[in-house]
C-alpha cells in the first residue's frame, strides 16, 4: 500500500514538473531600425528587442501604477518619459500606454525565474520594477522606482513599450550615462555586485552601440542618493 502510494505520487509529481525557464540571449531585434537622423530632433525612437523579460497589463492589472518599487531596495529613481508624435510635429501624444520594466539592483527581473550573481531566483509571482501608465495631455508618464542594477551581457537599461489605440507603436530601451552608472555602482547599496564588468560602457552594449544618442536618457542627481531620469520617446502616432 505504502509503495503503491509513493509510486502514484511520484508519477503525479513527474507529470507536474516545473515550467521550463526561458533563458534567451538578449539579441538585437530583427525589426527594421528606423535609423537616427543626424540632425536628431524628431525621428522615431530606435526599435529594440523587448528582451526576455517583458510583462503586461489591463483593468485587472497588477502593474498599472506609478510606484513600481514593490519594496525593492536601491537608490530612488524618478522616471519621466515624454511621448512625442513624429506624425504631428513632435507634439506630445496623450493617452498612449507606456509599459516599462527593468531589473532590480542585483540584476534580477520579476515575473521570471532568472539566474544572476546571487544564484537562481524564482520571481515568477512578483511584479517589482514593472509598471504601465497612460500619458497625460502633456504626453508624460511618471514612475517611481530604483536605479536598476546590471546582469551579465548587458549595460544598465530600462525597457519601454508604447501602444496607441491598442496598436503597438514602439518597443525601445533607455540607456543611462556611463559616469552615473559607475557612480551608483560605487555606492554601498550596489557594492555587493559592484561595477559592470561584463559590458563596461554603453558604446560596447549590443543594443545601444548603434543607437545610443537616441536612447540615452538625461539623468541628474536630484538630492542625496536620488536620481531623476527624463527621456523622450518618439512614436509615429
Amino acid at each position: 500500500m505504502e509503495n503503491s502510494r509513493k509510486q502514484f505520487l511520484k508519477q503525479l509529481f513527474i507529470s507536474a514538473t516545473a515550467v521550463p525557464v526561458l533563458i534567451e540571449a538578449c539579441k538585437k531585434s530583427d525589426a527594421a531600425d528606423p535609423g537616427i537622423d543626424s540632425s536628431g530632433a524628431c525621428t522615431v525612437s530606435p526599435e529594440e528587442t523587448d528582451g526576455p523579460y517583458p510583462l503586461y497589463n489591463s483593468r485587472g492589472s497588477s502593474i498599472q501604477r506609478v510606484d513600481i518599487t514593490d519594496g525593492k531596495t536601491g537608490t530612488p529613481l524618478h522616471i519621466t518619459i515624454n511621448i512625442l508624435n513624429t506624425n504631428n510635429s513632435c507634439k506630445p501624444l496623450a493617452n498612449a500606454r507606456v509599459d516599462i520594466w527593468h531589473c532590480d539592483k542585483d540584476g534580477y527581473y520579476s515575473g521570471y525565474s532568472n539566474r544572476g550573481y546571487l544564484g537562481t531566483q524564482d520571481n515568477t509571482a512578483l511584479v517589482f520594477c514593472r509598471g504601465l501608465q497612460y500619458s497625460d495631455t502633456a504626453g508624460q508618464v511618471k514612475f517611481t522606482s530604483i536605479y536598476p542594477g546590471w546582469y551579465e551581457g548587458r549595460v544598465t537599461h530600462i525597457h519601454a513599450q508604447v501602444y496607441v489605440n491598442d496598436k503597438l507603436k514602439g518597443t525601445t530601451q533607455i540607456a543611462f550615462p556611463d559616469d552615473i552608472n559607475a557612480a551608483v555602482y560605487n555606492t554601498a547599496l550596489y557594492a555587493a555586485h559592484g561595477q559592470n564588468t561584463s559590458v563596461t560602457k554603453n558604446s560596447a552594449d549590443m543594443v545601444f552601440s548603434d543607437s545610443l544618442s537616441a536612447e540615452l536618457a538625461t539623468v541628474t542627481a536630484s538630492e542625496t542618493s536620488s536620481y531623476d531620469l527624463v527621456h523622450n520617446i518618439y512614436i509615429a502616432g
Binding site: 505520487l9 509529481f13 526561458l22 526576455p52 510583462l55 497589463n57 489591463s58 492589472s61 515568477t124 513599450q161
Partner: protein, 159 residues
C-alpha cells in the same frame, strides 16, 4: 506532505464575475501583447505564433499580469475548490496563468487556465478517487476528489 495544483479553465462560456473579468481582460491583453510576435498579423492563433516565434511563449505571463488584481481579489481562495462536503474551500499561495488557445480574429477561441498552488497539506490516505487530507495545526481532516483539474505538485515524506 503534499501541495496541490488546481486548474481553473476559463473560456467564452464561463460564468461568474471573476471568470468573465479574466476572460475579457486576458483576451484584450493578448490582442495587445501578441502584436510584438505577430507583425502584420501573419498568424491568427497563439499556437501558430509560438510555432514561428518561440518567444511568443512569454505571452502566458505577459497576458497573465493583466489579471493579477482579479486573482488578488479572490483572497487566496481557489474558486470552486471545495472538499467533498462543501465545508472547506482550498486556499492558494501562488498562481500561474496559462493560455490554452487563442485567436486574434475570434474571441470565442480564447481559452485560458489559472493554476492555483496550495500551501502544504498532510496526505493521510488515498481512498479510491479521494485524498484524505489534513492541516499541520489540527487533527481535523477532509476529503477531496481527484479529477483532471487536480494534481499533486509537491510531495515530501514527513520527517
Amino acid at each position: 506532505m503534499i501541495k496541490l495544483a488546481i486548474r481553473q479553465v476559463i473560456d467564452a462560456s464561463s460564468t461568474g464575475t471573476f471568470a468573465k473579468n479574466v476572460f475579457r481582460d486576458s483576451y484584450a491583453e493578448f490582442l495587445l501583447q501578441s502584436q510584438a510576435y505577430n507583425p502584420n498579423e501573419a498568424f491568427s492563433t497563439f499556437a501558430e505564433m509560438v510555432e514561428h516565434q518561440p518567444k511568443a511563449n512569454s505571452l502566458h505571463y505577459k497576458t497573465g499580469f493583466a489579471v493579477g488584481l482579479y486573482v488578488q481579489s479572490l483572497a487566496n481562495l481557489v474558486p470552486g475548490a471545495w472538499d467533498m462536503l462543501g465545508n472547506i474551500q482550498l486556499s492558494f499561495e501562488r498562481h500561474q496563468f496559462k493560455i490554452i488557445t487563442s485567436c486574434i480574429h475570434d474571441r470565442q477561441l480564447h481559452k485560458v487556465a489559472v493554476l492555483y498552488y496550495t500551501a502544504p497539506l498532510l496526505l493521510h490516505k488515498i481512498i479510491g478517487d479521494y485524498l484524505l487530507l489534513g492541516f499541520n495545526d489540527t487533527t481535523d481532516t477532509f476529503t477531496l476528489k481527484l479529477d483532471d483539474d487536480l494534481s499533486i505538485c509537491h510531495y515530501s515524506e514527513e520527517s
